[in-house]
Subunit: 343 residues, 2 copies
């Protein structure tokens, strides 16, 4: 890979080069990159807006995160928030802070991941800001999406007797991080170290290249299911359940036996001598969808291929509890990832 210092292109040259392959995909994108603002037109639909900040040394470690994957993930986590409102993502802006140790080729690599995510999910890049930074890489992405007013699902609509559902499986992204961390420590000081990831590819993929669950939204739509509350699982199932319970003023019972866990996640937890349920409840970064539906939708939910029933909503005074396999009740606490404690 050749090495071009970013200062040789300058800010505008860099932006021109990075954005020229992004073709406009949405009729709602009237004007994209290249003016003071992008211009968007949803014609009567509602605009959704969400933003996420990823910082080197806090949210990612470049010793085991390829820049292309990082770009992809930075977009994916924003799209996930739009799907979690039952909306369709349409445009993103990308702001970068770049320290001197990064070259134009590095940033091209990062953008190739951003490009791949935009292509896959039909999203337009419409602006951003690029600057030098004193230390490290930072990525701030804002996503705009659209939704019909009646379609939008908030966090505060869960009601007593509703069913609690979750898509995919949980804990794998966290176990992927543990695996990467273990191999990083093992490799320290060794020149030709070969990390051992055989049979663990799913865990790595879940950590390095999460996919926003557009397919879950499509299946809900196909089956005519309108969730009463929904959010994506970024901090961990426990933390998100408590958000929905608090915002909806309800309680919940979630069944340990119903929490979806992949085989590789279970094997890895065993190997690392970690509690599997804790990993699934509190691991975070799964970017699965957690949602509630009225009890009357029970049969439809049972047909879903992308999600499963894990519990039910209760009156608020009953609290939020995990029902274990031996029928004990453990209070759900938010032990999710907290950037202010980790740092």
């Amino acid at each position: 890979m050749s090495e071009t210092e970013i200062s040789t292109l300058g800010e505008f040259g860099l932006i021109d080069q990075l954005t020229r392959d992004f073709k406009v995909k949405n009729a709602s994108t009237l004007r994209g990159v290249g003016d003071d603002c992008a211009v968007i037109d949803y014609e009567g639909k509602k605009t959704l807006v969400t933003t996420d900040l990823l910082l080197e040394g806090i949210h990612f470690d470049l010793t085991y995160t390829p820049l292309k994957h990082l770009g992809y993930k930075a977009v994916a986590v924003n799209l996930s928030d739009v799907y979690a409102m039952n909306g369709t993502p349409r445009q993103i802006t990308v702001s970068l802070g770049i320290s001197k140790r990064f070259t134009v080729e590095h940033i091209n690599e990062l953008y190739s991941g951003i490009y791949a995510a935009c292509e896959k999910y039909g999203v337009d890049l419409v602006g951003g800001d690029t600057s030098a930074s004193v230390t490290g890489l930072l990525i701030s992405i804002t996503c705009l999406g659209e939704a019909g007013e009646q379609d939008i699902v908030y966090r505060n609509g869960a009601r007593d007797t509703d069913l609690v559902c979750v898509s995919g499986d949980l804990g794998a992204a966290y176990m992927g991080l543990q695996l990467l961390e273990r191999e990083r420590v093992a490799s320290a000081g060794q020149k030709d170290f070969q990390p051992d990831f055989a049979g663990r590819e799913y865990l790595l993929e879940r950590q390095l290249k999460p996919e926003p669950r557009a397919d879950v939204i499509a299946e809900l739509h196909k089956l005519g299911i309108h969730p009463t509350a929904m959010m994506d699982i970024s901090d961990g199932l426990s933390s998100e359940l408590l958000h929905i319970c608090k915002d909806s003023n309800v309680g919940c019972r979630v069944y340990e036996s119903r929490i979806p866990i992949d085989y590789q996640t279970a094997v890895m937890a065993e190997e690392l001598n970690m509690n599997l349920v804790t990993a699934a409840m509190n691991g975070g970064e799964d970017y699965e969808l957690l949602f509630t539906v009225p009890l009357t939708e029970h049969e439809k939910v049972e047909q879903m291929k992308t999600a499963r029933l894990i519990g039910r909503i209760t009156k608020p005074e009953l609290g939020a509890y995990l029902v274990t396999r031996d029928d004990a009740e453990m209070e759900i606490r938010a032990q999710g990832w907290n950037a202010f404690n980790n740092a």
Copy 2:
């Protein structure tokens, strides 16, 4: 000022506390902070979106920038981009990266400036992301605005014989920075140093608390003037003139004698032995509006209190030149602030 570690509140506690005083001001803000996305509704108007990233050590120095001013400026520079499209800013999202040396009280101070700007310009805070950072403070703001399709002014509409206009005065923000830098150097190692800013308040205000020119947009509207091209001056007049010339495929002649410069700016340049015209042309951070209007609007433009005529648009082959007081022509070059060279 008491000192509360940010980890005592946690991310959600901090966001709750920072955002609770922000009341919704726009009917278009259907849902603000507190869900996966904000929900916005412009009912047929077009949505404008812009974003800016401010990094400690690159864009600001906290040894002379009060946190409240920094918060205000971070919002102001985004609103300026929306006005520069002839739009009205309505919502912002605010993402913060915060290192360990900042306390809750520091971030409250920063937010008091964000709050003041939102109140003054009628803008709603609708979301964001807050994280620990390894070093320093970073602020990423995205602003949404609305505009009627016919009202939007791009950079590419300038035509031969159009008039070139600029609001306010130029170079003062740059001179304010020079002044702050001089006093910072003079204060080094001295405990009770009192910086000497007497009679230079305007320069400081221009650097520390720029105002987006909503009043210029209002005056254009009142006089029925629709600019053919417009942008805000963040990198310097030279750089922005070249943007408009390139995007519109035109040239220009701008007259040195017509460039608006405040008395304090001139005195400061003299004192620092700096070229005044260079400061005004390339200083940057003025956040004034540069716009072009058809020749037929000459009389209306002459009536403007917030802006003045500084030149004219030409055919592209005539290039972009500054006509000096002694009638020499100097080619305009972008020497504006470039974050990748400064860092």
